[in-house]
C-alpha cells in the first residue's frame, strides 16, 4: 500500500496546485518563476541524492552550463529559445554523463570531493575563458523567449511559460522515478553491492542518473538565464551546487514534490530574511544544524507527520532519508541499520 501522499497522482496534483496557487499569493512573478525553476533543478538533484544515493556537489556545473548555452545561443547566434532549451537539455546530459562517469570511479566521501573539485574546475573554466562567458560580468542582455510573436516580457507571462515546462518535466521525472529504471536506482542506493551482484550494471545506471539529472538541471539553468536576462558566473560556482543540495535536503529526499517545497521554502525565506538582515546566511547555517539534529526528513517529513496525526494513521516509520554512504558497519551502529528500519523501507522498494 503506497502512502496517500506518495502516490504519483497526488504528487503531481500537489505540484499543479502549487503552480496555480503561487500567482494568487505572491506579488513578484520573478520570484515565483524562480521557485519553479529552482524546484526543477532541485528535483533533478533529488534524483541523484534521494533516489541514487549520490551526493554530488556538481549540480551547479549543469545549471551554469544551461545558462551559458541559453545566453550564447540567444545573444551570439540569435537562435530561437526552444532550440536553445533543447540544446541545453542535450549538453547538460552530455557533460553530466562525463562528470558522472569520472566521479563514480570513487565512492562515498571521495566521490563527494571529486564532484566538488569538478565544480571548481568548471567554475574556473568559465572564469578563465571570459571571452566566451563574459567572466565576472556574465553574459548580458539575454532576451526573453518569444511565443506566437510576443516577447514574454511580463513576469507573470513568463511564469506561465515556465509553469507549463515545469509541469511537463516534473511529470517526466515522476515517470523516470516510477519506472523500472528508477526502482533500480533505489536498489542501488540501498545496497549497491547487492544490486551489482544481481547483475545490474551499477555504473551505467549511475551515469544515466547523472545524465538525466544534468539535462533537467541545465534546462532549469537556461530558464533562469532567460528569467534574469543574464548568465552570471555565480550560476556555475560552488555556491549554486551547495544551495541546490541544501534545498533538496530541506525539502526531503526521494520525493519529487518535496523538492519544490524545499526550493520554495528556501527562496521565500531568503527573500524575506535578506531584506531584513544582510547576514541572514548566519540563520541559514543555524537552520542547517537544526535540520541535521531534529528534522532529518526535511519539511516533507514534517508534513507526513502532520497528516499522520490528522488522519490518525499509524505514524510513518522513520527511516533515515538515505543510507550512510561509506560508514563501515563497525563505526557506530546506526539506528537506521536496525531491522525495524529495514522493514520500514521495504515496501517503498517493492512497490
Amino acid at each position: 500500500m503506497v502512502p496517500l501522499l506518495d502516490r504519483p497522482l497526488v504528487q503531481f496534483g500537489l505540484a499543479l496546485a502549487a503552480v496555480l496557487v503561487l500567482p494568487l499569493v505572491m506579488r513578484s512573478g520573478t520570484l515565483a518563476s524562480e521557485i519553479l525553476i529552482y524546484g526543477l533543478a532541485v528535483a533533478a538533484c533529488n534524483l541523484l541524492l534521494g533516489y541514487t544515493g549520490l551526493l554530488s556537489f556538481g549540480q551547479g556545473i549543469f545549471f551554469g552550463l544551461g545558462s551559458y548555452v541559453a545566453g550564447l545561443g540567444l545573444v551570439r547566434a540569435g537562435l530561437p529559445a526552444p532550440v536553445m532549451l533543447l540544446l541545453s537539455l542535450a549538453l547538460g546530459a552530455l557533460v553530466a554523463a562525463a562528470v558522472g562517469w569520472v566521479s563514480i570511479r570513487r565512492q562515498g566521501v571521495y566521490f563527494v570531493m571529486l564532484t566538488l573539485a569538478f565544480s571548481q574546475m568548471f567554475y574556473f573554466l568559465a572564469y578563465t575563458f571570459s571571452g566566451l562567458t563574459g567572466g565576472d560580468n556574465g553574459l548580458l542582455d539575454i532576451p526573453r523567449p518569444r511565443l506566437a510573436g510576443t516577447v514574454l516580457a511580463d513576469p507573470w507571462t513568463y511564469y506561465a511559460f515556465v509553469a507549463v515546462l515545469f509541469l511537463g518535466l516534473f511529470a517526466a521525472l515522476q515517470r523516470v522515478a516510477l519506472s523500472t529504471f528508477g526502482r533500480t536506482l533505489l536498489a542501488i542506493r540501498d545496497n549497491e553491492g547487492r544490486a551489482g551482484a544481481i547483475g545490474y550494471p551499477v555504473r551505467a545506471f549511475k551515469v544515466a542518473a547523472f545524465a538525466i539529472s544534468g539535462a533537467v538541471t541545465a534546462f532549469a539553468g537556461a530558464l533562469h538565464a532567460m528569467l534574469i536576462g543574464v548568465a552570471p558566473l555565480s550560476n556555475i560556482d560552488y555556491h549554486t551546487s551547495e544551495t541546490l543540495l541544501i534545498m533538496t535536503i530541506i525539502g526531503g529526499s526521494a520525493n519529487l514534490f518535496a523538492s519544490l517545497l524545499g526550493a520554495g521554502a528556501y527562496l521565500l525565506a531568503a527573500d524575506a530574511l535578506s531584506a531584513i538582515w544582510p547576514r541572514w546566511l548566519l540563520l541559514l547555517g543555524l537552520l542547517l544544524i537544526v535540520i541535521t539534529l531534529f528534522l532529518q526528513r526535511g519539511l516533507w517529513g514534517l508534513i507526513e507527520h502532520a497528516v499522520a496525526l490528522v488522519t490518525r494513521a499509524p505514524p510513518v516509520d522513520d527511516p533515515a532519508p538515505d543510507r550512510p554512504v561509506v560508514t563501515a558497519p563497525e563505526v557506530a551502529p546506526a539506528p537506521e541499520a536496525l531491522p525495524g528500519a529495514e522493514t520500514g523501507r521495504a515496501p517503498e522498494v517493492a512497490r
Binding site: 566521501v109 571521495y110 573539485a117 560552488y238 546566511l281 563505526v331 546506526a334
Partner: protein
C-alpha cells in the same frame, strides 16, 4: 631566476596546503567524518592572528595562540554538536559542517567586517634576503622552514608515539579500540581539535602572506579537497607530496598564465584521477 622565486613561493604555499589537507585527512581517517567546516577553522585562525597583531600582540604570540584557540573551539564544537551526528549518514555530516562553516563565516563578517585586512609580518622577518640578484622575503623563508619542522614533528607524532598509534589503530577499527578500553570519545575530540588546530595554524601563517578576508575559508576548503584527492585520503606522504605539487604548480602558473592558474590545478587533478583513481599515495 623568476622560476626559482616561484618555486620557493610554491614551496611555502604547498606546505600550508599540506597543513590544511593533513588535518582534514586525519579527521576523516579516525572519525569517518567529512569536515566541510575545515576551511572555516583556517579562516578563524587567520582572523584571530590578525586580531592579536592588531591588539599589539607580537606575531610570535598571536600565531600559536590563534591555533590553540581554534583547536579549543573545535574541541568544544565536537563535544557539543558533532558527536551527536556521527551515527547519521554522510549527507548530514556534510550538511551540519556546511552549516557550521556558514555560521563561522557570517560571524567573522559581523565581527570584523566584509572587507578584510592585512597582517604585517613580524618585525624580525619583515626584510628581504638578498643573494646576488636574488631577493626573497624573509617571512616566506621562515614559513617554509617552520612548516617543514612542523611536518617532521607531525610525522613523529603520528608514526612514532603512543598517541599516533592510538589514532592509527582507531582509524582501522574504532570498535576494537573501545573494546580494549580506550576512551574513543576523548580520542575523537583530541584528533578533531588537532586537525582543526592545524587548519587554524595554516590560516595564521598565511595571514601575513595573503592578508585576511571572509571568503578565504571556502577557497581553502576547495584546495584542501584537491590536495586530498590527488594525494590519496588518509595518506601523510600523499598530503605532503600533493600539497607541494599543487603549491608549486599554482605559483609557476602565476607567472606563466595567471588567469588560468586555478584552472590548471583542477584540470591536473582530473587528469590524475583518470589515471590513478586512488590518488598518488592512496591505499586500497
Amino acid at each position: 631566476m623568476t622560476y626559482l622565486f616561484q618555486i620557493l613561493n610554491g614551496l611555502g604555499l604547498g606546505m600550508l596546503y599540506f597543513l590544511l589537507a593533513v588535518g582534514l585527512s586525519i579527521i576523516f581517517g579516525l572519525l569517518q567524518f567529512v569536515n566541510f567546516a575545515h576551511g572555516a577553522f583556517y579562516l578563524l585562525g587567520a582572523y584571530l592572528a590578525y586580531e592579536g597583531v592588531e591588539r599589539g600582540l607580537s606575531f610570535w604570540v598571536a600565531m600559536p595562540l590563534a591555533a590553540l584557540v581554534v583547536a579549543g573551539l573545535a574541541a568544544l564544537t565536537e563535544r557539543l554538536l558533532l558527536r551527536r551526528v556521527y551515527q547519521l549518514p554522510h549527507t548530514f555530516h556534510i550538511l551540519v559542517t556546511v552549516g557550521l562553516a556558514l555560521v563561522v563565516q557570517e560571524l567573522v563578517i559581523i565581527v570584523w567586517g566584509p572587507l578584510g585586512g592585512n597582517v604585517a609580518p613580524p618585525e624580525e622577518l619583515s626584510g628581504v634576503l638578498i643573494l646576488g640578484d636574488f631577493v626573497y622575503p624573509e617571512y616566506r623563508l621562515f614559513v617554509i622552514g617552520f612548516t617543514a619542522l612542523l611536518a617532521a614533528g607531525l610525522w613523529w607524532l603520528l608514526d612514532r608515539t603512543r598517541l599516533g598509534a592510538i589514532v592509527r589503530a582507531g582509524s582501522e577499527s574504532p570498535a576494537n579500540m573501545a573494546l580494549l578500553g580506550y576512551d574513543t570519545l576523548r580520542i575523537n575530540t583530541a584528533v578533531f581539535a588537532l586537525g582543526a588546530g592545524l587548519a587554524g595554524l595554516a590560516g595564521a601563517l598565511a595571514a601575513p602572506i595573503r592578508g585576511v578576508e571572509p571568503f578565504m575559508g571556502v577557497e581553502a576548503l576547495g584546495i584542501a579537497f584537491v590536495v586530498v584527492v590527488i594525494g590519496g585520503m588518509g595518506s601523510y606522504a600523499g598530503a605532503l607530496a600533493a600539497g607541494l605539487l599543487v603549491g608549486i604548480a599554482q605559483s609557476l602558473m602565476a607567472t606563466l598564465w595567471p588567469e588560468g592558474a586555478r584552472l590548471v590545478i583542477y584540470l591536473g587533478m582530473a587528469g590524475i584521477i583518470m589515471a590513478m583513481p586512488r590518488g598518488l599515495f592512496g591505499r586500497a
